[in-house]
């Protein structure tokens, strides 16, 4: 007997997808409100009744909490994202109800991915998520860059899926099982297979040296899609990577542990060196996200201190900051379309006080300067990693964050020190403003009142 209740959220999203499809035929505009309503209901369900979902499952308690909290965050994030979607798409003449469908498919994929307990389900989830992302990258069909981004993303993504499948089949060949729990004593064949699986996952979370697609795809695709790539699917993949790492005890396997360490170090460094010379803001954010993935990998490797809490906290802060930055960018336009160059932000201080101050908070927070929450996120990760004895990686991490400060500061320089750029148009919309102002407030007020966030991540995992 299949326990349908335990995947009620997934079924709910599936129903949402079907009703959106049907509704789209009749009334194209209403799909957004339907989905917002749907995700609000889903979030409420998960928050208040979610703990009953996996009662009879084989997951451990910590995993259940992790899965549940991730799903709550994903569904809240999707709600906010769908709220934000309409205006930027309309500005580019791209508003079609299919876009919402892609979000739904990607979210469904993320849900499946997060709670999968075997490789096949994980593969399905990952593919469901990725295919929607390829389409979102190429959504601006009249724009060559967007098409290029979509094709690049697709071809490289397909390659990485190939790696994933190949790895899975090697593991299956060796152990005869797809289930994570069944994998305990395996031979070198599984090691190779697992490293292929890891490579594919590194590709999905854009960890260097598998990051080449990231800047190009971010730059080419519509800004709103770039926001999505940088936030929710990446979040889901990182959570899955975390689960793989700990449920398969990869730290015990030397070769894979080294791969993890090397990828972490390279991500930290490539992220910052790539970003220094960037003139285009989305490319800068892409490289900066690679650097942050490096930090998260460091957190994944150093598990002991606050358990999942450190990574989760870092991810939450990263999500909030990403949403905030992109909300600011989406609320600005240059005379020829979306904001692209960093120099177009010149003198933002004079045109919009709230936007520039919020950006200041986001950038300092990303750079890890106290008293903003980004500092504490890095602080916890570093605490965990030093506790774990990863001294060299910790030093690399802090050195990278000093270099990172340079390019964050240059953006601040453009906004605060340079003269006004008259091409810059303000495109205020209430939801966007709400998102970035509340994000900035959360990041700032965390210093004064850290309890809610800390209790949230701490309480669930201890």
């Amino acid at each position: 007997m299949i326990n349908f209740y335990s995947f009620a959220p997934e079924i709910f999203i599936l129903i949402l997808i079907l009703s959106t499809l049907t509704l789209g035929l009749i009334n194209k505009g209403s799909s957004i409100s339907l989905n917002i309503l749907g995700f609000v209901i889903l979030s409420f369900f998960l928050i208040f009744n979610g703990s009953s979902l996996y009662l009879n499952s084989s997951y451990s308690v910590n995993t259940i909490n992790l899965i549940l909290l991730s799903k709550i965050l994903l569904s809240l994030g999707s709600t906010i994202f769908i709220l934000m979607v309409k205006r930027p798409l309309k500005n580019e003449n791209l508003f079609r109800y299919e876009y919402v469908l892609f979000i739904l498919f990607a979210t469904l994929g993320s849900f499946v991915l997060i709670s999968s307990d075997n490789f096949l389900t994980a593969f399905i989830g990952l593919e469901l998520q990725s295919l929607s992302l390829y389409l979102m990258a190429a959504f601006n069909t009249k724009n060559l860059n967007s098409n290029e981004a979509g094709i690049k993303y697709f071809s490289l993504g397909a390659l990485s899926s190939g790696f994933l499948l190949f790895g899975i089949s090697m593991v299956y060949f060796d152990t005869g099982s797809f289930y994570f729990q069944a994998l305990d004593n395996f031979s070198y064949l599984s090691e190779i297979g697992l490293s292929l699986i890891l490579i594919s996952l590194f590709f999905k979370v854009s960890a260097a040296p598998f990051h080449i697609w990231t800047p190009d795809v971010y730059e080419g695709s519509p800004t709103i899609s770039a926001l999505f790539f940088a936030s929710l699917p990446k979040f889901a993949s990182l959570i899955f990577l975390f689960r793989i790492y700990h449920e398969l005890n990869l730290s015990d396997i030397d070769s894979l542990y080294y791969i993890f360490q090397i990828v972490c170090a390279i991500s930290l460094l490539v992220g910052v060196y790539g970003a220094i010379t960037q003139k285009i803001i989305k490319r800068l954010l892409a490289f900066s996200s690679i650097n942050h993935v490096g930090f998260i990998l460091l957190g994944i490797m150093s598990y002991e201190l606050m358990s999942e809490g450190t990574i989760f906290f870092y991810l939450i802060i990263y999500l909030i900051t990403t949403f905030g930055i992109f909300a600011v960018i989406l609320n600005l336009r240059s005379s020829n379309g979306e904001l692209t160059k960093i120099s177009e932000l010149n003198g933002l201080r004079f045109s919009s006080r709230s936007k520039s101050i919020s950006m200041l908070v986001f950038l300092f927070s990303l750079a890890g300067i106290p008293p903003f929450a980004g500092f504490f996120a890095k602080f916890f990760i570093l605490s965990a990693s030093i506790n774990e004895g990863l001294y060299i990686l910790s030093v690399i991490a802090v050195v990278s964050s000093v270099i990172a400060a340079f390019y964050y500061l240059s953006v601040i320089k453009n906004m605060f020190f340079n003269d006004k750029n008259n091409d810059l148009l303000l495109d205020n919309n209430k939801i966007g403003s709400f998102v970035f102002i509340s994000s900035a407030l959360i990041l700032t007020l965390f210093f004064f009142y850290p309890d809610p966030l800390i209790n949230l991540v701490d309480g669930l995992f201890s």
């Binding site: 602080f379 605490s383 030093i386 000093v402 400060a405 340079f406 500061l409 210093f447």
Partner: protein, 485 residues
């Protein structure tokens, strides 16, 4: 629960800044904004005066403690307290900020509201550093200071301000992150962020050396000590007058304060082990930067280099690890805070009138601006270390305390004093005496505001020089028990 005066000290400027930034700037005149900033910072000064009044000098340890849990899991708490070592520095800060605002009254004309807001934020963060006795809170404030300073130099600075402000920020950050790793390591060993507890913990010798170097990286950049000092002249030259004043007056002291508050009590073995290194660097700083200062053509740069030299005395004094040396170093810190701030104000006065800082552009100023020359003389002499001024006491004590350690050290520091006298006198001579240049004939003498703050600073300099006991009373006990024990 007693009266939370320390939190109030942090929050007053913070709330003031917040209120100002939320107000509608288009309706407010610049004058109103400056006035409100001035009122807030003056109120803050009066508030901080309560500290020495109610401080009980007979007791050891921290007073006015406040404790709130913050991150339970790591035992990192919002834990504030002051002792004799922090109170004079807090007073110095609250005293200098209103003066900074006063001196910018005419020179800052655009984006006035931001200026006042950043200054109030800066004040709040600096006070946060001095009152925190939890290591993480300390670090948070120590780093946060960079943000308003970065903006102040970057927005109101000179032509090359971007280079200067980036260099300032990145240098200091690079040092600080190493300290962050050290802090995290300490917390992971001792399991607490409480400075009092950590000070009693004895680390392994080998670990002490590494941790000491981590902390050294941060504080040495901030002080700044010899190989890490290159950001300072750039930052000073490019910063607006008020920025230079607060930079030289207070920010440099954060590093020395860190040495006294964290490095020495935590790492006794390493402090002794690294004594020769620090003495060498400080001697080089004193002699080398004095010679460099001698050759400067830019007044601000000259005073900036003299700051490095004077802070060399401070680091030597601190690391003699004797009561006298430490007292002298501390006195030198306070005195340098007043005198170098005053000297930067002096430069600011002529720069505002004549828009050049080159020494060669001025000559015979004393004939046109007699009051100006008078105050210039007082501060110049105090910087040189004339007995009767505050500069003398600190240098004298430091030099005396070095004799017991190493005579060569004494010789070098004494040479530093002579060199200091030569460049300051040269500067004074070139600007104030000689023929009157035709371009500067129309300069006006000090205005009433300038007269007001210069007389305050001059009184303080001479008062401290004549009656240093008032400061020593405050710090003696704390240094003896808190730092050297």
């Amino acid at each position: 629960m007693s009266f939370p005066i320390l939190s109030l000290l942090i929050l007053t400027p913070l709330i003031g800044a917040l209120t100002l930034s939320l107000s509608n700037s288009s309706q407010l005149k610049n004058r109103t904004i400056f006035l409100s900033g001035l009122w807030i910072s003056t109120g803050e000064f009066l508030l901080s005066l309560l500290l020495p009044i109610f401080y009980d000098q007979s007791q050891n340890g921290y007073q006015f403690k406040e404790f709130h849990t913050w991150f339970d899991k790591f035992d990192i708490n919002y834990y504030l307290g002051v002792d004799g070592v922090s109170i004079p520095l807090i007073l110095l800060t609250t005293f200098l900020v209103p003066i900074c605002l006063l001196c910018s009254w005419n020179s800052i004309q655009h984006r006035v509201k931001e200026f006042v807001v950043y200054f109030l934020l800066l004040e709040s963060f600096i006070i946060g550093v001095f009152v925190s006795i939890d290591i993480v809170i300390f670090y948070v404030f120590f780093e946060a200071v960079l943000i308003p300073m970065f903006l102040i130099i970057g927005i109101w600075g000179g032509d090359n301000r971007l280079y200067a402000t980036f260099k300032f920020f990145l240098y200091t950050l690079a040092g600080s992150v190493l300290m962050l790793l050290g802090i995290i390591y300490i917390i992971s060993i001792t399991g607490t962020g409480n400075i009092e507890v950590i000070a009693e913990y004895v680390f392994d010798n080998q670990i002490q050396l590494i941790l000491f170097l981590c902390f050294f990286a941060s504080f040495a950049v901030k002080v700044p000590m010899f190989p890490f000092h290159t950001w300072l002249p750039d930052a000073h030259v490019q910063a607006p007058t008020s920025g230079s004043v607060i930079l030289a007056g207070v920010l440099l002291k954060l590093g020395a304060y860190g040495f006294m508050r964290l490095s020495i009590p935590f790492f006794e073995y390493a402090s002794i082990y690294f004594q020769p290194l620090i003495f060498t660097l400080s001697c080089i700083a004193i002699v080398y930067t004095s010679i460099v200062a001698l050759r400067q053509s830019d007044m601000k740069k000259m005073i900036a280099y003299s700051s490095v030299a004077h802070m060399g005395f401070v680091t030597i004094g601190i690391f003699t690890l004797t009561q006298d040396g430490m007292n002298g170093a501390y006195f030198q810190m306070i005195s340098h805070g007043i005198v170098s701030a005053a000297l930067f104000l002096i430069v600011g006065v002529v720069y505002e009138r004549h828009h050049t800082r080159m020494i060669a552009d001025y000559s015979g100023v004393s004939n046109i601006m007699p009051r100006y020359s008078f105050f210039f003389m007082i501060f110049m002499l105090s910087s040189v270390g004339l007995p009767g001024t505050s500069g003398f006491v600190g240098e004298f004590l430091v030099i005396i305390s070095t004799i017991s350690i190493n005579v060569y050290l004494t010789i070098f520091t004494a040479v530093g004093v002579i060199l200091g006298a030569s460049y300051m006198l040269l500067l004074y001579k070139n600007i104030n005496f000689g023929d009157i240049k035709s371009e500067i004939k129309n300069l006006t003498d000090l205005s009433r505001i300038e007269l007001f703050y210069f007389s305050l600073l001059a009184t303080l300099t001479i008062f401290l020089g004549v009656y240093p006991k008032i400061l020593f009373q405050m710090i003696d006990q704390s240094i003896n028990i808190g730092i050297l024990s």
